[in-house]
Symmetry: C2
Subunit: 326 residues, 2 copies
């Protein structure tokens, strides 16, 4: 574990424990199969980033109530719901090193348990008594489903532009993290500029996280990543490292990448060739630099808050976005 | 068109027109494929029962605002979302005589457009400004997904009990119709007993509608039903006409029904034999009588309201539940 990770984990250990308990306690399905399937996706080593960010955001805004952990489950349930549906949509095989739910229980169960988790998240949302939080959930779901469809309609298309890519990851990832941070501010009755600051922090962090994730697909190995090597490209998904490299690529290299995208398959050797290409054409560096900019914007966004232990953790999490290895 | 249907349609023609417009106007997706797929399920001859019931319930409680049609789309979008997912889960082929969405655009699109419709319904729900209405949406979704999973886990099982069947249709159908009626009362700021009366009306009507639907599967033909003959049994779904008949069946007939359930296939001749069996063993009559009781309970539930044109329509709709032929 690297230093930053250790520092963050040390500071939020108790919070993570409480979040884990809350995730267990608030699931409450009446059908055993729902419990089983939901637990498979929920308790398989997720980082709990979204609920944690909600809890920390609330604390930063002075929240002293007892419901922050309960409310934070909204964002993990919502996240798990979309993972269930997205894995199905993407035809993914592994998540966090384990077979995906639909490969164990079948697509129908994955669809319905996703719906169930979404509705749990919504039910807990109503318990906050804040319509603004429900709006966050509604808008997040609307954005995520459309972002995923947008991505789906462009699958295997070599002409995906950088701005389209940004639009897709905004909807698919950033909006949810933004919503978690914003909800923390909302349950703490924060001032408008605090709410705006935390929203911007979440949005920028989300963008950085997704880019780091897209980089990991090319810079990590299956062991630590917990999914197939080069899974994105195999699924026909063009991400920024490839999009950027294609701009600079020779016609020959472009054709080679196009072939991979069309065949959805490559050997380890082919993968290494691709990785070298993304490196040589600067796609990896370009993406890393973009992510660095988002991290710095995230950190700047919470300058409205005075220095505190909680703020320090949020700043560390932002930095960690780029350092993580899985 | 029978007399009752004509009477109802005559009385609500303008409302149905307005609901249609609202359904078009509130969809607002940004991806064209979402619009196409959502329109396929939304504008294919649905009866608009749920939005209509919301509008009529609001009117019965004295609502005079301008947003009843907009808010009523919540229940058609929610309904369409579950149809998209359920058709996928059930492996259905036809709906209202047209190929189901997932057979045209594939399962991924059906899953995601279902999610989108659910989130649209939620977004419009937040526009009501009433947390109680959001609760209705959350509870409905929770119930429907679990009801559907419950049904799924019992698929092909000959031992499904009548009480399990009632639990499943309550969650799958009655809760949504109950929610539509209740929401009508809520937006009209109705008195508690009016809200309770309309909720009970909706619940009982929903139970009756589902039973009538389950009867139609054995008493109608593909032409008017718009789906395959005996589709329920082919999908491994035991409904009340069969459940009741099995109780009285000879071991020989029971085995014959079990074989159909296991093979998921039968000829027209086999279907006629089955129908005769359900008739002879009283399963059809038993179901019809149960449905009649629910209709009468639905009508009794709104006795709290004075006589009015709107109440008359709601009473007619209850009666129509048993008379419809598709």
């Amino acid at each position: 574990m690297n230093y930053l990770k250790q520092k963050i984990f040390g500071a939020v250990k108790d919070d993570l424990g409480d979040i884990e308990t809350a995730l267990e306690e608030n699931l409450t399905p009446y059908v055993e199969l729902v419990h089983q399937t939901a637990s498979h996706i929920l308790f398989s080593g997720g980082k709990r980033l979204r609920p944690l960010l909600m809890v920390l955001s609330a604390r930063l805004c002075g929240y002293t109530g007892n419901y922050d952990k309960t409310f934070s489950t909204i964002f993990e349930y919502l996240h798990a719901a979309t993972l269930l549906h997205d894995d199905l949509v993407d035809g993914a095989k592994l998540r966090r090193g384990k077979p995906v739910a639909h490969s164990i229980w079948g697509s129908p169960v994955a669809v319905l348990v996703g719906d169930f988790l979404l509705s749990r998240s919504l039910s807990i949302g109503t318990e906050t008594g804040r319509l603004k939080i429900i709006k966050v959930i509604a808008e997040t779901t609307e954005n995520m489903s459309q972002g995923e469809i947008h991505q789906l309609t462009r699958k295997g298309n070599i002409d995906l532009s950088e701005s389209e890519y940004l639009e897709i990851i905004r909807r698919k990832t950033a909006v949810l993290i933004e919503g978690a941070c914003r909800t923390g501010a909302l349950i703490a009755d924060a001032a408008t500029e605090e709410e705006a600051g935390l929203s911007a922090y979440g949005f920028n962090l989300g963008m950085a996280f997704q880019m780091a994730d897209d980089l990991l697909d090319y810079t990590s190995d299956t062991g630590s990543l917990g999914k197939e090597i080069g899974a994105d490209l195999k699924e026909g998904k063009l991400t920024l490292p490839v999009i950027r490299s294609l701009k600079a690529a020779t016609p020959e290299d472009r054709t080679w990448i196009e072939t991979i995208l069309a065949n959805k398959d490559f050997s380890l050797r082919g993968f290494e060739k691709l990785r070298d290409m993304l490196d040589a054409y600067g796609g990896l560096d370009y993406t890393r630099n973009k992510a660095i900019k988002y991290v710095s914007d995230a950190k700047a966004a919470i300058s409205v808050f005075a220095r505190s232990e909680t703020k320090e953790i949020l700043l560390n999490i932002a930095d960690y976005a780029l350092e993580r290895d899985a």
